[in-house]
Symmetry: C2
Subunit: 230 residues, 2 copies
């Protein structure tokens, strides 16, 4: 039995809410232009989710046939739209990221300079690839051919976020690569003095004195709601 809707549920609902005959396959394909980058999930999760939502009456699934092969095309129901509306009134989950590369940076000194450089190069390339995609989306809107062209005023906010964030990641990767290239090795020898200078220049205010302020437990931090929703 389906208990509660998850954020993934709402992501699917939200996408189906845009007028279009959504086959699950197309839903999955187009996700890249909707929520793949802000709510990445495996394809099979989407297939399962639409079935759940249909079973709950939030989506309306229409069986079709291509040859003797079946497929389902979904549209949102009024009940589904209402669920979205109610969701908007609940607290958001905070921004969270998975950035494996940073763990590698942390342990970099037990490996080789080439390894960490390679890791950072991968991250930079990933960022560039995503930026290239962002540029494509921008161009689509400028040409007026975007699928959600009529929602340009909303999409602009999202694309702005996406591009800003990726530019930040790319810039960090580049200055970090440059910094590491300037090192002879990965040992701390003589590097910590300069590091303090770098710390001093970081664009964030410091408290007068460091007080051991306890941090909220992680559950609180990651998801604001405690009622079982993920």
């Amino acid at each position: 039995m389906a208990k509660q809707l998850t954020t993934t549920s709402y992501a699917v609902l939200a996408q189906v809410a845009v007028p279009h005959p959504w086959s699950t396959y197309e839903l999955v394909q187009q996700r890249v232009r909707y929520f793949r980058y802000v709510w990445p999930r495996a394809e099979s999760a989407i297939y399962r989710e639409v079935k759940r939502l249909a079973a709950m009456g939030l989506l309306d699934g229409r069986k079709e046939h291509v040859g003797k092969r079946a497929r389902t095309v979904y549209s949102i129901t009024e009940k589904g739209r209402e669920a979205l509306r109610e969701w908007l009134a609940t607290p958001v989950s905070p921004f969270a990221m998975d950035f494996e590369a940073m763990i590698r940076v942390f342990v970099a000194p037990i490996g080789t300079k080439e390894q960490i450089t390679s890791t950072l190069n991968q991250v930079r390339d990933d960022a560039r690839e995503m930026l290239r995609f962002g540029g494509e989306v921008k161009q689509e809107f400028l040409e007026g051919i975007a699928v959600t062209q009529d929602q340009a005023y909303i999409r602009a906010l999202a694309v702005d976020f996406f591009i800003s964030l990726l530019n930040t990641v790319e810039a960090w990767t580049e200055r970090t690569l440059a910094e590491i290239e300037s090192w002879d090795d990965l040992s701390p020898d003589g590097k910590n003095e300069r590091a303090l200078e770098k710390f001093r220049e970081l664009p964030v205010p410091t408290p007068e004195s460091v007080e051991r302020t306890p941090v909220a437990p992680r559950t609180q931090l990651r998801r604001r709601r405690l009622d079982g929703r993920v």
Copy 2:
């Protein structure tokens, strides 16, 4: 049976690798200064992970007693260090984020202006809270009292990333709030023209013409390795 190590395994290994008598509790507490923000996981996952790693011989667990209550203190083994070293040679997972707020921005027009404003305010406050924490860490290093003070040259890279990213998020939130405040309502009426202007100003290059370039399947994108490791 433990099959493969996950990134979470390596995150725990990496933390235990810094010389310290690590009780699981302290491991969990200190995670905020290590990998909580780049690899957020529930506390119970850490408890399970140390047991796995100990069973595999990558960690050494020493039973202690406080009153009649048992606890385990861990340290890394040479085998564990070797596992970390080997991991460094494998491909990284790309940067990924969970940003629920963006889904809400997308469906904002079906809700109220107050709802989306509230959502964005929450995101901004979260970002500020994290930045405050970043400022604290910076200050610890400047005062020379950080736990990993001798690793300042590495930690500086991480804190730089953290602060840059959060500043980007905060700045986006603020300009987006300002934009939305300037609207009378959430309807598209008369907003799309201005949106195109915003698109034009986005700091990313656009391709000559938009070609329908197929995007790599999501699995590829999120995790580079296909051998079952998460």
